[in-house]
């Protein structure tokens, strides 16, 4: 076996040379509208079996062509084109998309269908419609491209978590991210330790398309994990024609857009003189050349040396991202279609030392055996990534807090820092440059995602196929945190000589192994019939998936006497091991029946068992049904020149939710005892054990979805096409962590099934092609979605407070409340009163219930998350030039401007337990109102800090030029392009960036504006 692999590998390497030896008709097939190459298009000599298909970049090579041959170029979803061969050396064909054919294959889970036959709310975003430019992670390809799919990354981190919501979210406390299935393997929701983004392991260049299943008639086949929709990722596969190679390279330079409006040194000095004249001697550093101290009556600051440090600039840099990819695809021995790719990404984040590096490799084999009766698909994707994880919150908070009159470094080159007392105790906010430079925390992940699918078409009954799919998602993470020589974070008091000392060395370690397995077996029956029933397509099968996460941690602490760092020995769990395992097993069936070739029915049933529930509550049953009517196939429209496509879809389905691991752990129904940590002990000499709270009554949360949709395409060349969907989604038996009758369970709040939630919405997807000529084309894509959620029941409760979102005040204040009758995650706040000039009256709130006193009853609810979201993009091509731009945004939604809360009060600089001043927002230019002297009492709960979060972001503008025939006539093409990602942001939000998933803007890692240059070379 091993030798075969070696041979294969050798062959793969030799491919380039054999390819160059060919000589015959070559050319390129592209999309007439976008100018993008079409991979996998068929090019054949009419009436013969002599044919080939195009590679990833639309190139083909066809041998044995004679003059007079008619060359037919075809691709599903496009109109065929026939060109006569007259001896031309190259043949470049631009295909027109043909929506009336609607033959585009749509992956729908455990099978495929075509756009024409699809009955559910299914949206396909293929590579030609992806976002372009500097794209590090796969989720960025999809931002704004599909209606109702809201992707909000956590910020500008190189591997920022994507936070994907399809049609709002179906749950309150349980999982709300959609299920992501890559080439048939459903991914774990848990990212490996050290990765913020589950999609970061995918090379975006390997992705062919995303298929988004939105309504339950489509998702029910994924039953237990489909309540929040499903995103199916399909990667590129090998072509059946000649070997093709592609190389792409990209370099992007990123800059911070808007920074937080903190004071500069001069303004801050003026501010301290004006508001805190007794503190002027804390500005800057002592001037050793004299013994003066400041005289507050003079405008100068005597006896102090003032620096002018912009601390935000000090921690940020021009980020550089480079991305190199090479792929080869072809048909080995004419029976083994293969695609292999390697990629290397280096992404230096905006914040210094926040570096990320990723190697990816993928291999896809799609051979067929036994006269095409046995189709085999092997996918293997390997990733190795390494990130230097920074102490993000401290470094960014530090850059906002630090006094701008302080230097970064002392004259001797050491880090500047205020100290107190005689023993050198560090004081106040730590120098954020030190925090970044003096700690290294490489987080390394090796990950493999692989599956083997066998699809056997029965010899005795070719309509019947048996499919086996085995997948594995495995990763190993290694994290080591070490301090270098001058790390302030490791500067500890040695009580034996009462001095502070540095403690370089290891501070933390973690090793984690995740092994998830998938195993699907199913039978599929497909038959086209004549008569009233025109088609039957059915699947039935079994699937099993498990998730195992096993890890160890090295935990250290500082000796309270010597200050030395030592291993924190945990006798009850010496390796600080953690171990979790979950499993899901399902039986599923689906039948598609077409009547008279225009009435399409789909029925789905799935039974799911989850390890998270007790045996007697373990199984849930999730049905789905859909009906579609191809109206344009009715006689009265059949010959219409205007209506090319008109399909009405009705869908109904139920899906289940069981993923409560983030709130209830992996064993939520068992009585278990957990050992305490080394610092959580009590009686001397005994190890403490805590009985863990559990709920043996837990059962499935169920979401019922109703969907009505209309697909349409009008006028010649489908100038206007698109779809409209209206839906309602009711979730019952909500899995919520909420209060229980006091004393009757092991703690005050447990995860339980209570309450209901409903989401309603409309989605519009439009594609407009105003100009389509040979040389010039213009296409506009747009989508708009409205979703409104409402909590309709919470058992007896009127509300509960989700603990995960807290305002950054001393002990944290919950401002979000889940309440009956309100949208999920609404803020519960006081209504600020303003004076006649429009300025806030500090501490004055509207007495909403009119009882004459301001109590908690005067708070009101205000929705934070957006209802209206949109995206649009446009593509122009003129000959070899292409220009595209894409945008997304929201029309409403609100953001809590916590940066204003944290830095917008005049007593803020006053040292609390320290000798250091804190910087503030610029009160002189209106960034904050100096009426706020403090933020005590109810001030943080005022709606003064809640701002309109509507925005429009230009995700990218890309200008490209294609050089054809680079190597020789008809062979080799290079596309050069320049792009700006995150080009601009239009918003009224006064803070840094309103695009914020948790609607709380605090210590935000800014998203860079990136200028990139790249090339694609295909040969």
């Amino acid at each position: 076996m091993k030798t075969i692999y070696t041979k294969l590998l050798l062959l793969l390497l030799l491919l380039p040379f054999t390819a160059l030896a060919q000589s015959t008709l070559k050319g390129n097939i592209s999309d007439a509208t976008s100018g993008q190459p079409i991979p996998g298009a068929n090019v054949i000599v009419e009436g013969t079996s002599n044919g080939t298909s195009t590679d990833m970049d639309g190139n083909f090579t066809l041998a044995n062509v004679k003059k007079g041959d008619r060359i037919v170029v075809s691709f599903i979803g496009y109109s065929n084109q026939v060109v006569e061969y007259t001896g031309q050396a190259t043949l470049n064909v631009a295909l027109q998309e043909d929506a009336t054919q609607l033959q585009e294959v749509v992956v729908i889970g455990y099978g495929t269908t075509t756009k024409k036959d699809a009955t559910g709310a299914v949206d396909v975003v293929s590579s030609k419609d992806f976002n372009k430019g500097a794209i590090a992670n796969a989720d960025q390809l999809l931002v704004g491209r599909s209606p109702g799919v809201r992707i909000t990354n956590a910020g500008g981190q190189p591997d920022a978590a994507p936070n994907i919501r399809i049609r709002g979210g179906s749950s309150l406390s349980a999982q709300n991210n959609p299920l992501i299935v890559i080439d048939g393997v459903p991914l774990d929701y848990v990212s490996p330790a050290g990765s913020g983004n589950p999609l970061a392991m995918l090379n975006p260049n390997d992705i062919e398309s995303f298929t988004i299943l939105k309504d339950a008639s489509a998702t029910a086949i994924y039953g237990s994990r489909a309540s929040n929709g499903v995103i199916l990722v399909t990667t590129k596969k090998g072509t059946s024609g000649k070997p093709q190679f592609s190389y792409s390279a990209n370099v992007a330079f990123g800059k911070v857009g808007k920074t937080v409006d903190m004071m500069d040194s001069k303004t801050f000095t003026k501010f301290i003189q004006e508001y805190h004249p007794d503190l002027t001697n804390m500005l800057g550093v002592d001037d050793p050349s004299n013994a003066l101290s400041d005289d507050p009556t003079t405008p100068e600051i005597e006896g102090r040396i003032l620096s002018n440090t912009n601390w935000q600039d000090a921690i940020m840099r021009t980020s550089i991202m480079t991305d190199n990819n090479f792929s080869a695809s072809g048909n080995l021995f004419k029976v083994l279609p293969i695609r292999a790719s390697v990629g290397y990404l280096k992404n230096e984040g905006l914040v210094k030392t926040s570096d990320y590096e990723r190697y990816t490799g993928s291999l896809k084999l799609t051979p067929s055996f036994l006269d095409d009766h046995l189709k085999v698909e092997l996918n293997a994707k390997g990733t190795q990534s390494k990130k230097n994880a920074i102490d993000e919150a401290s470094a960014i908070a530090g850059s906002l807090n630090m006094d701008p009159t302080k230097p970064i470094y002392n004259a001797d080159g050491s880090y500047a820092q205020v100290t107190s007392g005689t023993n050198g105790k560090l004081d106040g906010q730590y120098n954020p440059v030190n925090l970044l430079n003096e700690r290294r925390r490489p987080e390394e992940i090796k990950k493999l995602l692989a599956n083997l699918q066998l699809d056997y078409k029965m010899h005795f009954l070719p309509e019947l196929r048996a499919i086996v799919n085995m997948g594995v998602e495995a990763s190993r993470s290694n994290i080591t945190e070490t301090f270098s020589d001058k790390a302030f974070s490791a500067y500890q008091l040695d009580n034996t000589d009462n001095t502070y000392k540095y403690h370089p060395g290891k501070n933390y370690g973690e090793t984690q192994t995740i092994t998830n397995r998938t195993f699907d077996t199913y039978l599929a029956y497909t038959k086209n019939l004549t008569g009233f029933v025109t088609r039957v397509d059915a699947q039935a099968g079994h699937t099993y998936q498990d998730f195992k996460n096993d890890g160890y941690k090295d935990i250290y602490r500082y000796n309270s006497v010597t200050g030395e760092r030592e291993v924190a020995v945990n006798e009850q769990n010496p390796n600080n091991r953690y171990y979790t395992k979950a499993a899901i097993e399902s039986y599923f069936g689906r039948a598609n029946v077409d009547l008279a070739d225009k009435y399409l029915f789909t029925f789905t049933l799935r039974a799911d068992g989850s390890s998270l529930f007790r045996k007697d509550n373990r199984w849930g049953y999730f049905p789905g049904a859909a009906f579609a009517w191809r109206i344009n196939d009715e006689n009265f429209l059949k010959n219409s020149q205007v209506v090319n496509n008109l399909k009405l879809r009705l869908g109904y389905g139920q899906t289940g939710q069981q993923d409560i691991t983030s709130i209830a752990g992996y064993y939520p129904t068992s009585a278990l005892y957990e050992p305490g940590d080394p610092n959580g002990q009590y009686l001397p000499g005994y190890n403490t054990y805590s009985p863990k709270a559990f709920n043996d009554q837990l059962e499935w949360e169920v979401t019922t979805t109703y969907n009505v949709g209309l697909d349409f395409a009008f006028f010649k060349n489908d100038i206007l096409s698109g779809s409209v969907d209206v839906y309602k989604r009711d979730t019952d038996n909500l899995l919520v962590k909420a209060s229980v009758p006091s004393g009757q369970y092991l703690t005050n709040e447990i995860t339980q099934n209570i309450g209901s939630l409903t989401n309603k919405g409309v989605e519009i997807d439009l594609r407009l092609k105003p100009i389509t000529t040979d040389n010039f084309s213009w296409e506009v894509l747009g989508n708009l979605a409205y979703n409104i959620g409402e909590i309709t029941d919470l058992g007896n409760r009127s509300s509960f407070d989700p603990a995960e979102i807290k305002l950054p005040t001393s002990t944290g204040i919950t401002f979000i409340r889940q309440a009956v009758g309100q949208q999920p995650y609404a803020a519960y706040v006081f209504e600020q009163l303003y004076d006649s000039s429009g300025r806030p009256i500090v501490g004055a709130y509207k007495d909403r219930n009119g009882d004459g006193v301001i109590t908690n009853d005067d708070k009101y609810y205000t929705a934070m998350r957006p209802n209206w979201t949109f995206g649009f993009s446009t593509n122009f091509t003129y000959k070899n030039i292409d220009l595209s731009a894409s945008f997304h945004g929201q029309l409403d939604g609100q953001v809590y401007n916590a940066a204003k809360l944290q830095g917008g009060w005049t007593d803020r600089p006053v040292p609390n337990n320290s000798n250091s001043l804190n910087n503030v927002l610029d009160f002189y230019n209106g960034a904050a109102d100096p009426r706020f002297t403090n933020i005590q009492g109810n001030i943080p709960l005022s709606d003064y800090y809640i701002e309109n979060g509507a925005f429009l972001r230009c995700d990218n503008i890309t200008l490209g030029y294609r050089f054809n025939d680079v190597i020789k006539n008809g062979y080799g093409s290079i596309r050069l392009y320049a792009a700006v990602n995150n080009a601009f942001l239009v918003t009224n939000y006064s803070g840094q960036d309103p695009e914020n998933f948790n609607t709380l803007d605090s210590n935000f890692y800014p998203r860079p504006r990136q200028w990139s240059f790249g090339l694609n070379f295909d040969f």
Binding site: H542, S560, A583, E674, D677, L683, S690, Q744, G795
Partner: protein
């Protein structure tokens, strides 16, 4: 063709095999957390470990370090029992104020605008109803297994549960009664009145008193601890039930003093220092340790909360982390006369440098004197500064028993003498070098003030003020009572706290205390 058929048959057989259920795989088992059987098999001291956890819940917010909590809340560190006691017993009363606000703390510090949504009421309520089911759960579990010293351990667990219920009686005046018998029902239990809870706690403690040892390991309950709680229950019985039980209180106090073997420590401040685990006076401590038992809700809350680098050298009090929060008011330090000239050791435990005598604004750190009664420095040996405190909290101590003796006698209890009462009070005063008083000076009003001088910041004050009829109404005003700088009358409603709205919502049988 034959070959192909073989393959097909083989294929179908494989399929059939694969279809066979994997259902047993759905019974996943943990490897770090343990079932009770595994736990008892793994650790010979597992039962003491469970008991340690239950005692620990009076001082720790959770067992996974200071950032963890057994109950959910906006901030884990805020949820500890002792922190709630300081917040609700001290800040609401005359002697101590806090300046942070913290979304509800201002309402406690100003004894005004109390409402059922204030998270600080919920923290205490939910902590009680964490302790009650947890102890009950272990009591029931232990009943089914064979372990050594079972009766002693179960008695201690019952004591911890009784203490939690006592907190309900005192703070909320009602609740639900979860017992071994009804634990495990999911339908909401009926409301239990103050009298019902009182009767239950009394009967439990009387039973435990007969079963628990006279002595025990440090930090654990013994006969005297149980009797102290009984005495607390009886001395406040008139408030709780309308019936005086001062003689019963005195009976128990006599037993504590006579049988417990405790003696007054020579130095007052040694009882509140880092090495107070050597105390001869402390009857029931809540343990703290800077390394192994860290919490933002044990004495760390008292020590760090009372320290600030703004006006003091925090190393002098053994902490490396000061929070600039709590200060005493003149309602406490005013009781010593002129602090400069007072001979009373207890008068020296206020930090006056840089601070104002008057508390014009409770939010201003320098208004009012911080109390440095509690500190993290050792009394009799050198010590180090740590961010967490190692000072144990004296929940019950002999001086309290002496003052309770005197009070019971003054209130007409049988079983004691006026002379003994005077001797006990003077023993306390002499220990702190305060002037001896005469029998004529020993009045109830004097006792209330003496309790402040001796016991403030030890979690008794609000209860004391209510028992002496001074908490509500306008007869006694203190700074910021009723949210007025010089104090204002507050309604009798405030004798109990509002039942938290989360509790009302999750159990419809519960009703709100009148006035809220």
């Amino acid at each position: 063709m034959k070959k192909i058929s073989t393959k097909i048959i083989l294929g179908l057989c494989t399929m059939a095999l694969l279809f066979s259920s994997c259902s047993s795989e759905l019974d996943t088992k943990p490897k770090v957390e343990l079932s009770l059987e595994n736990l008892l098999a793994n650790d010979p001291n597992a039962v003491q470990g469970l008991l340690s956890k239950m005692y620990g819940t009076l001082a720790l917010s959770g067992s996974k370090g200071p950032g963890s909590s057994d109950i959910s809340g906006a901030d884990p560190g805020e949820t500890a029992y002792l922190r709630s006691i300081i917040n609700l017993q001290e800040f609401t009363a005359d002697g101590m104020k806090n300046r942070w606000g913290d979304d509800g703390l201002d309402q406690l510090t100003t004894t005004s605008r109390w409402d059922p949504n204030n998270k600080f009421f919920r923290y205490l309520y939910d902590r009680v109803y964490y302790i009650v089911p947890q102890t009950t759960n272990i009591i029931i579990a232990l009943g089914k297994v064979d372990v050594e010293n079972k009766e002693q351990i179960i008695s201690e667990l019952r004591f911890i549960r009784a203490l939690a219920y006592y907190t309900m009686i005192d703070a909320f005046g009602k609740g639900v009664l979860v017992t071994n018998e009804n634990y495990g029902t999911s339908t909401p239990l009926p409301e239990a009145s103050r009298q019902e809870l009182f009767d239950y706690v009394e009967s439990e403690l009387l039973d435990i008193e007969g079963k628990i040892g006279l002595t025990n390991e440090y930090g654990r309950a013994n006969k005297s601890v149980v009797r102290m709680l009984l005495a607390k229950l009886y001395i406040n019985a008139e408030v709780y039930t309308g019936t005086q039980r001062y003689s019963d209180a005195l009976t128990n106090i006599n037993k504590v003093i006579g049988e417990g073997g405790y003696t007054l420590a020579t130095s007052f401040v040694s009882q509140f220092s880092g090495d107070n685990y050597t105390s001869t006076e402390i009857i029931f401590p809540l343990i703290a340790d800077a390394v192994t038992s860290q919490s933002y809700g044990n004495t760390t809350y008292i020590v760090n909360g009372s320290c600030s680098t703004e006006t003091m050298n925090i190393n002098d009090f053994g902490t490396s982390d000061a929070w600039t929060g709590h200060r005493a008011t003149k309602a406490w330090y005013g009781l010593f006369g002129d602090l400069e000239t007072s001979t009373d050791d207890r008068a020296k435990l206020f930090w006056t440098e840089g601070h104002n005598y008057e508390m014009e604004n409770y939010k201003t750190w320098t208004d009012g004197y911080p109390s440095v009664k509690f500190r993290n420095t050792n009394f009799s040996s050198p010590s180090i500064s740590t961010p967490f405190s190692s000072t144990d909290f004296p929940m019950y101590r002999l001086a309290d028993a002496y003052l309770m003796y005197a009070e019971c006698v003054l209130r007409g209890a049988t079983g004691g003498t006026s002379q003994q009462a005077l001797d006990y009070v003077n023993a306390i005063r002499n220990r702190s070098h305060a002037a001896t008083i005469t029998s004529g000076e020993l009045t109830l009003d004097f006792l209330l003030d003496e309790r402040a001088r001796e016991l403030n910041f030890e979690g008794h004050r609000r209860t004391d003020l209510i028992r002496f009829g001074k908490f509500t109404g306008g007869s006694y005003l203190w700074p910021w009572k009723g949210n007025a700088v010089n104090g204002a009358a507050i309604p009798d409603t405030y004798k109990v706290f509002p039942i938290p709205s989360t509790a009302l919502q999750s159990n419809p049988n519960l009703s709100q205390n009148s006035g809220y």
